[in-house]
């Protein structure tokens, strides 16, 4: 690792500023963990002699990615993932800030658990790991969690992770109470009853496979309810994972009405569809389930237009034993920290989204929603930067991924885009 007190200059780069949406040539000067200068003026000749120089050879340099939805395994599921392994995977995938989900054991519903996570991250993580805390006690959707004390302990947002609040009164109270603390409520929307017998998207393909289906309404009914409650309470609401057009239409209307509403989509739902399940591939068993191709295209359009604010990996490491089961009995979830950027670049290559817009949804926009100073390519911003070659090809080999679990839906996929350097607070954590 480099000495973070020594200035470092990344020169000869394609600089992408996700906030401004611009691409320029030049360099970035970093000192004391912050960006000091950005632009064409940062060259080998312009920086002081004691600075470390990294010639990027025309690679892209941009802010590191901010991933709002990552399961890090600690405490309680260290056999699936640890903060150390998740943060190695993150660093190698260009992710410099992880927001950890609270579905741990014990769950992140007590300030002491938040404190534990922050200490573990300080001691074992290469990238920034920030906790999101439970919004109800025990993630049970019944009683308010200690949102004020959890926020004081360091929680940056509130979510019940993969649990969805079924009781509308509880959801209303959460939004109302969280608003007093200006806390962000990130909700995974799923009507438990409507989704209960399903294991993949409802429709022809599920019927051919003989699998129970989850209709898009299982998500959109809860999204509709939540948006009405967001209007009633004026709380800050973030739909954690949207997967279909119905949800998008509702969110568009809510945004037009001036509600403080945002939404995210997983990289899987942008780049895969239900047909990829193929022959009962359990690594593609996700919640919400992968939808049809036309829905996927609509999600990409919504991302391009800004209706969808952020992309998340929804990194969910699963032990091989829980995936090597009949499809209906296998656990949901896929890992994604390491492949999120190159999967996203597929959309750029397909011409459906611009590179700055892709990077904004992966860095500046999530940082903005979370109220974090990261995600900006500007003097004074934290020096969380990545360098990558968007065209360098590779084939995903799950055994070479850094995550402790290997359940990637992109195993053996041909990808382009290799992260060559990841810097967090001026410190190079991956090269």
């Amino acid at each position: 690792m480099n000495n973070p007190s020594r200035p470092i200059a990344l020169i000869n780069a394609r600089l992408i500023d996700p906030v401004a949406g611009t691409e320029t040539r030049g360099g970035v000067l970093v000192e004391n963990g912050e960006i000091r200068g950005v632009g064409a003026a940062i060259t080998r000749a312009s920086v002081s002699a004691d600075a470390q120089i990294v010639d990027c050879g025309g690679d892209i340099v941009c802010p590191g990615l901010v991933d709002m939805r990552v399961f890090v395994g600690e405490p309680g599921a260290e056999y699936r993932e640890t903060i150390a392994t998740a943060s190695r995977a993150a660093a190698s995938g260009g992710v410099t800030t992880i927001v950890a989900t609270p579905d741990t054991n014990p769950p992140m519903d007590d300030p002491a658990v938040v404190d534990f996570l922050l200490r573990r991250a300080r001691d074992t993580a290469r990238v920034r790991v920030l906790p999101s805390a439970a919004m109800t006690k025990g993630l049970k959707g019944e009683e308010l969690a200690e949102i004020g004390l959890l926020q004081e302990a360091g929680a940056v947002a509130f979510t019940d992770g993969a649990h969805s609040i079924q009781n509308s009164k509880v959801m209303r109270r959460v939004l109302t109470y969280a608003r007093d603390f200006d806390a962000l409520v990130m909700h995974y929307a799923e009507d438990r009853n409507l989704a209960s017998s399903g294991v993949m998207n409802e429709g022809e393909f599920a019927s051919r496979l003989g699998l129970g289906g989850v209709p898009p309404e299982a998500e959109s009914i809860i999204i509709d309810r939540d948006l009405r409650l967001a209007a009633l309470t004026r709380g800050r609401y973030h739909a954690a994972l949207v997967s279909n057009v119905q949800s998008l239409e509702s969110i568009q209307r809510a945004k037009q009405n001036g509600l403080r509403v945002t939404c995210g989509v997983s990289i899987n739902h942008l780049t895969l569809n239900e047909n990829d399940i193929g022959d009962y591939r359990t690594f593609l068993k996700l919640s919400p389930p992968l939808r049809q191709e036309d829905e996927r295209q609509k999600l990409v359009e919504a991302l391009a237009s800004g209706l969808i604010d952020v992309i998340v990996s929804d990194h969910n490491p699963q032990d091989v034993e829980t995936k090597r089961l009949p499809f209906a009995e296998a656990e949901d979830g896929a890992i994604g920290l390491e492949t999120m950027l190159s999967a996203g670049l597929r959309l750029v290559r397909a011409g459906t989204i611009t590179l700055p817009r892709l990077l904004a949804s992966l860095s500046s926009r999530p940082a903005e929603i979370l109220g974090l100073p990261q995600g900006r390519l500007a003097p004074g911003a934290p020096a969380d930067l990545i360098r990558f070659d968007p065209d360098e090809p590779y084939v995903v080999d799950r055994q070479k991924l850094h995550s402790r679990s290997k359940n990637t839906p992109f195993d053996e996929a041909r990808m382009e885009g290799v992260v060559k350097l990841t810097m967090v607070a001026g410190r190079i954590v991956h090269e």
Partner: protein, 315 residues
């Protein structure tokens, strides 16, 4: 202070502060001032209610309010009966209206009623021939509490007009907050409601009060900090996450009280939850009026009984 005159009170019942005029309220406070003197004598008996029957009918547990009414009635010479609802025909399924008819047949002069349903005391008052005093109905009104609070403030501060009063805690479920809001604004005080949003009733911002969602802003430069009791069953995640979180953000301790005026006084209708809404140091401190409120409670109830006795039938 105007000369107190019980005949100036023209209502048959006292069901709420709503509907009372400012002169009527002030007259009751003046009457109560005289009652304080009676209570402080060795000979505490007056004869205003001699031969009269007062029934305390409490559908909700109460210690201080019931005792306060009992003492007030006895000091005015009335015969006082406490109905123990817990073991009564009410538990056997008798409706409120039937209970009212039964009691009415016993020809009482005044019934003091507390009920857990808003509007229940008003309903009962329509079914009886005697006077009815509301000793608290659901989350609606508790008029004698507001009167005793006003009397306590007026005696300590010399006035109510122009004072800033912060009412803090479970405003949503509090009849004390509602009665105080009406009374104090009628007498010219600036009233603030201070609570987390989950404990504020809908539309509170249109009721002539300032609404604050942090204690620091809510009690800033206040003359009176009035804490409300938070019921245990509302604290375990239903309206607020926990006792410790509530105390952290809405509890009143000496440090937080510094935001109020230097001579600010602290009130609480009781019974207090130490370490939940109020710290012992403040509750037992020199600026606490909590015990004084209890004394004023007896005086105010004597004043109300005396005022109502002027209009009792066959009186």
């Amino acid at each position: 202070m105007a000369e107190a005159d019980p005949t100036r009170f023209t209502h048959r019942h006292l069901l709420g502060i709503q509907g009372l005029t400012r002169p009527e309220i002030e007259n009751l406070l003046d009457l109560a001032e005289q009652a304080i003197e009676v209570s402080r004598q060795v000979e505490k008996k007056k004869t205003v209610l001699r031969g009269r029957t007062l029934i305390n009918l409490f559908f909700e547990a109460s210690t201080r309010t019931q005792a306060s009414f009992e003492l007030a009635g006895k000091r005015l010479g009335a015969d006082v009966m406490n109905m123990a609802v817990a073991n009564s025909s009410v538990k056997k399924g008798e409706t409120l209206v039937d209970t009212a008819a039964t009691l009415n047949a016993m020809r009482p002069d005044i019934i003091v009623v507390r009920h857990y349903c808003s509007g229940a005391v008003d309903l009962l008052s329509r079914k009886v021939d005697c006077s009815v005093i509301n000793a608290g109905d659901g989350s609606h009104e508790h008029p004698t509490q507001a009167l005793l609070d006003a009397l306590t403030i007026r005696r300590r501060k010399g006035r109510i007009e122009g004072l800033t009063v912060a009412i803090c805690g479970d405003v949503m479920h509090s009849r004390v907050a509602r009665s105080n809001m009406i009374l104090l604004t009628a007498l010219g005080a600036r009233v603030r409601m201070v609570a987390p949003s989950t404990l504020l009733p809908s539309g509170i911002d249109r009721m002539g009060v300032e609404v604050h969602r942090t204690m620091e802003s809510g009690i800033r430069d206040a003359d009176i900090v009035m804490m409300l009791r938070v019921q245990r069953e509302r604290m375990d995640g239903a309206f607020i996450p926990s006792t410790r979180e509530f105390f952290r953000f809405f509890g009143l301790d000496a440090e937080r009280l510094k935001h109020a005026k230097d001579d600010a006084l602290v009130m609480h209708p009781g019974p207090i939850n130490r370490g939940v809404e109020i710290d012992s140091e403040v509750a037992d401190g020199a600026r606490s009026l909590i015990n004084e409120q209890v004394e004023m409670g007896v005086a105010v109830r004597m004043a109300v009984l005396e005022a109502l006795s002027q209009h009792l039938p066959n009186g």
